[in-house]
Every structure is written in structure tokens, then in C-alpha cells.
């Protein structure tokens, strides 16, 4: 039986697993979280008491079904589930060698999981644009503030300003307000006119979802401002103290706060697809690099993508994409599978909605390109826009050379939060289009990994209890990682 490895147990990974199980396969599912669900349907730890309705609002039914379906597959032994583990590297084999490859899986131990086919459902992270002062304690991604609320029941500040753009900005503000947090201001960098033009396309594709977003927005009242320009996050010893911004008419404002949440919609995570050999193209719609794949998610021989890592369609779209990727996988294995036609029709509607959304809530390319010299671009290593511009004169219009010279993109987040901004700045400094700067090549390991993990041989099995080859022992990681 072919081994299909699924990376990520969010909506896409779960629906992919389910489709494979229904076809009689036994996939391996690796996920970083302790409990499957992904980011949108993230589950709090055991012992937390809020109901799904309190946690997921109107999406509670979907969340419950997704969690239940996954838990059932685990309980019935239909999948090998490796939670709290990261795939940190991939060694794909060439088609001449039979395809497939080996995934290097790191948790409290290191394992090598051999696979014949790979479904990557690794999702997205917040897309971040730097704001002067964003390196200070108390600045978080919007996703972080949502995780804190959902999975921990906490707010990360007493007086909160949320800024950026996209659906999460409004949703999170609404969720925080409902939970009793003090949200002082919600600052959207997208002007109302832009939002309206994209919003019409959104409404044409998914009227109900669009109306729901507008209803949430209305609940924010005067806290919400559109067409804002963010100028600086100021602070002192204890972290953030205020944010300076200009309203749509150009008037300057200063809002006191001890937490700022930032995010400009999502950035598809490309690290593992890159290591698996996928090709990328710059998407003018999403204004970022996206994997080249067919409509079902085929991105190479034996390689499939699903979910926000493939196309940023949100959780509903991710469920569809997961099922579609699994259907492609089954078709390529010559196994019987359901017709993708109905799912594809729905996925196309999601894509039309997503394109409207991308138009309504654009990446602030100009604001990023014109950031002041002393603005930190790389939070990991404190590298400024001025430094990056200086090195751009030496590197020329090439993202990877600019990274080598400036180190923007080389820190421990591995470019996840700086590379889009970095490319914008290098492009402007070298008078090139950002699409011509290229994208940063992914480097393994894609998560920090203790060197000790590689000093001993890896376990090779996917399930320590049932699947260890004779004579094999699971090898724990050494305690000391320095």
C-alpha cells in the first residue's frame, strides 16, 4: 500500500486524510499542534470549558464536525497521527528513483518518515508589513492575538490597537470586544473605495459571508477607521505605549495602548513546497509568490498542495482543497475516487471571493517601499530598511543576494515575517518590479532544530508502538541542545 504523508492537520489536511481513508489508504498525518484543527479551528488544551459556539461563533458547526471526523479516524486507527511534530526537512527522490522521499520529522524525537506521495497542507501565516517600532514587546500578529484569546482565554494587553487590513482585522476586533477586552482602535490601511470595489466581487461570489463581515464591522462602530496610514509604534521600558497614525484625511493621531496587533491578510507558507521541489510564480492577485499547481493541487510528481498554502481561500476553501488534493492523489495511484466536479465548482466560487478579498484588502506596497531608513525590517536581527537599501546597491535586484548581504530573511523566522517587505524595499531601491526580485529559497531545517537531533540516528517508524521495524529502537533526543 502506498504511504501518503500529509503535513498539517487543519481543515485541508483533515479533509485530505478523510478522503484517503475512505479509499482504503492509511495516511500518515504530521501536525505541529497538540490537537488537530489548524489555526481557524484551533482547539484549546484539555480542561478548557468554553463551548464551540463561544470559541468559533457562527463557524462552530464546521469546527465540531472537523474535529469529530479527525478524532474518529485516530480512534479507529485509520491514520498514523504524529502530533506536536514538525517536518523540518524533506529529501525528495527523483522520479527515476521511484519518486516519493523521506520527511525529517522533529518533536521530542527525530524520525524519518518515508513516503510515496506527499500532501502539503501547511497553511499560511499572517502577512506582515513592518511599522516603525514593531520590534517592541507588545506588538503581535493578529493571528497571535486570536490564538491567545481562543486557545488560552487571554488578552495580550489592557488597551489594544489592531492595525493592518483583511478579514481577520475585523473578526478579531469583534471577538476581543465580545470577550471583554478593551479595543481602543481598529486601523485599516485599505481605503473605503478600494474595499467597496473588491467587496462587490466578494458579495457576488459569497453574499452571506460578505454580509456577515459587514455586520461585524458595524459592531465596531467608531473604533474602526479605513484608509489609515500607520506612522510609528512608540514605547518604553515595558514595551508598546502608543501608536501614531494618520486618518484618511491626513490628520495625525496618537492612540495610547500597550498592545498592537498587526496583519495584512495572509502569506502562504512556501518553505516545505519549495523543499519538495514545487515551482512558484508571483501572483499579482495575492501580491506574493504562490505555488504552481493544477486545479486539484498537483504541484509535481507525487506532490500535492491544499489549503491556504496553495491558494488563500480561507477555512471553507481549505476543506474543499484538502478533498481535491486527495482525489488527485487517488487518481494518480489508479484508485477509485469520487468525481471532483462538484467540489471544483465550489472551489471556483471560493476563488472568486478570495480574489475580491485580495482586491479589497491590498498589501500596502507603497507604504512598505517608502518606510523610513531607521525602521526595522528584520525583527529577528534588528536590520533596518536603510541597511537593506545600502546592501541593495551591491546585491542588485535579487532577493537571495540581498538576503546574503543584509541578512534580512536569514534570521530565525527564516524570512516568514520580513521577506515580502524586504523584496518591496529592494525592488524600490533598484527600480525593479517586485516580481523580478525573485523569492527567497527555503533552507532546511524550516524550524530551528537542535544539532543534537542529528548527532544520533533517527527513528524510522511512524508509530513507535506498532510500526517499529524489528531491531529498531526509538531514539530520544539528547537533553542538552547546545
Amino acid at each position: 500500500m502506498s504511504t501518503v504523508l500529509i503535513v498539517g492537520a487543519g481543515p485541508a489536511g483533515i479533509r485530505a486524510a478523510q478522503m484517503l481513508v475512505q479509499a482504503g489508504l492509511h495516511p500518515v498525518v504530521v501536525d505541529e499542534a497538540a490537537r488537530a484543527g489548524g489555526q481557524v479551528y484551533r482547539r484549546p488544551p484539555e480542561g478548557f470549558l468554553r463551548t464551540p459556539a463561544q470559541l468559533y461563533g457562527t463557524e462552530a458547526g464546521k469546527a465540531v464536525r472537523l474535529h469529530r471526523d479527525f478524532d474518529e479516524m485516530v480512534a479507529r486507527g485509520q491514520i498514523t497521527y504524529l502530533p506536536e511534530r514538525s517536518v523540518v526537512a524533506l529529501s525528495p527522490k527523483s522520479a527515476a528513483d521511484g519518486g516519493g522521499g523521506v520527511a525529517h520529522v522533529l518533536g521530542t524525537d527525530r524520525r524519518e518518515v518515508a513516503y510515496d506521495r506527499l500532501i502539503l497542507a501547511t497553511g499560511a501565516t499572517d502577512r506582515l508589513a513592518p511599522v516603525a517600532g514593531w520590534q517592541q514587546a507588545g506588538v503581535y500578529s493578529l493571528g497571535a492575538a486570536q490564538i491567545a484569546l481562543k486557545a488560552q482565554g487571554v488578552s495580550l494587553g489592557r488597551r489594544i490597537v489592531l492595525a493592518g487590513t483583511g478579514p481577520l482585522l475585523t473578526l478579531l476586533a469583534y471577538q476581543l470586544v465580545c470577550a471583554g477586552a478593551h479595543v481602543a482602535q481598529v486601523l485599516d490601511t485599505s481605503p473605503l473605495g478600494t474595499q467597496m470595489r473588491g467587496g462587490l466581487r466578494m458579495a457576488a461570489a459569497r453574499p452571506w459571508v460578505t454580509a456577515r463581515g459587514l455586520r461585524l464591522r458595524a459592531r465596531l462602530g467608531r473604533r474602526y477607521k479605513a484608509g489609515v496610514r500607520l506612522e510609528e509604534i512608540t514605547g518604553g521600558v515595558g514595551g508598546v505605549e502608543a501608536i501614531r497614525w494618520r486618518d484618511a484625511r491626513g490628520h495625525s493621531h496618537m492612540t495610547e495602548c500597550d498592545m498592537v496587533g498587526l496583519g495584512w491578510h495572509l502569506r502562504a507558507d512556501g518553505h516545505l513546497p519549495d523543499l519538495a521541489g514545487a515551482e512558484f510564480t508571483f501572483s499579482p492577485v495575492y501580491h506574493q509568490w504562490m505555488v504552481q499547481a493544477d486545479e486539484l493541487g498537483r504541484a509535481g510528481a507525487g506532490l500535492y498542495l491544499a489549503g491556504d498554502g496553495l491558494a488563500i481561500l480561507g477555512a471553507d476553501g481549505a476543506e474543499l482543497a484538502g478533498a481535491l488534493a486527495a482525489i488527485a492523489c487517488l487518481a494518480d495511484l489508479g484508485l477509485s475516487h469520487p468525481s471532483p466536479v462538484g467540489l471544483l465548482r465550489r472551489a471556483r466560487r471560493m476563488a472568486r471571493f478570495a480574489e475580491g478579498l485580495a482586491q479589497a484588502f491590498p498589501w500596502p506596497a507603497h507604504a512598505v517601499a517608502t518606510l523610513s531608513h531607521d525602521t526595522v525590517i528584520c525583527r529577528c536581527e534588528g536590520i533596518t530598511a536603510g541597511c537593506l537599501r545600502q546592501t541593495a546597491t551591491l546585491s542588485g535586484p535579487d532577493a537571495n543576494r540581498a538576503k546574503s548581504l543584509s541578512r534580512v530573511g536569514m534570521g530565525r523566522c527564516q524570512g516568514r515575517y520580513c521577506q515580502l517587505a524586504g523584496a518591496e524595499i529592494v525592488a524600490a531601491a533598484t527600480a525593479q518590479d517586485v516580481a523580478d526580485i525573485g523569492r527567497l529559497r527555503a533552507q532546511p531545517p524550516v524550524r530551528p532544530a537542535p544539532i543534537g537531533a542529528w548527532l544520533r540516528p533517527a527513528g524510522c517508524a511512524t508509530d513507535p508502538a506498532a510500526r517499529l521495524a524489528p531491531g529498531q529502537r526509538q531514539i530520544p533526543l539528547p537533553d542538552r541542545d547546545i
Binding site: R50, G143, Q152, V154, G238, C380, R480, D481
Partner: protein, 120 residues
Amino acid sequence: MTQASPLQHDCPALGQGRAIRLAEGARPEITFYIDGTAAVAQAGDTVLTAILMSRRAVRHAEFGPEERAGFCLMGACQDCWIWTEEGHRLRACSTPIRAGMRLCLAPPDLWPAGMKANLP
């Protein structure tokens, strides 16, 4: 064991932690240690949440004067790595707190001197 952390400033306005509980506040309490000082968390807290209940930040930036308090909370930015007294490192946002954990907000003394020299 480690000297008083610079993250432990006593400015009155900052006397409180960064995080506040909005829900799920009735879980069993557990005790752990931040730079040798006892602190209280609730079972199910991440290390990051547990520390931020009484602190404004979890570490100093290596490359700037500011402090850091995590950024993504999903294991992607690596902003929240701290230390245990035994010298292990852990990613605070994705590690559950356990009773008796002894955490350091700066590299403990047994770390190589060179690693500490760059800290403000």
C-alpha cells in the same frame, strides 16, 4: 541562581503582567519559577502565557535594546525562545507550563560566556 532579571523592573505602572485572563480562569493553579522567583500559572497555560501573567516580556532582543514578548504564538517567528535553569532552550508559545518548571529569561550562567556577551 541567575542575577535579578532586567525584565523585572519595578516601575509602578508596569507592575502588572502583560496578559489578562478573559475566560477559562478557573483551572487548577500550579507553581513554577521565573529566574528563581515563584510564580503562579494555571494548568493548560503555555509557558508564554504563564510568564506574561506577571511580566511584560520574556527576554531581551539579541540585536537591539528592546525586550520581546513573543510575536506569532504559532511557532513560526521564534521570538519566544527562553531558557531553563539547566540550560535547555524552549519555545515558550508552544510549550505547556508544568508545575515546578524553572525558567530563565536570560541565558543561565552555564551558557558559554560568548553567548551572553552580546546581550544588553
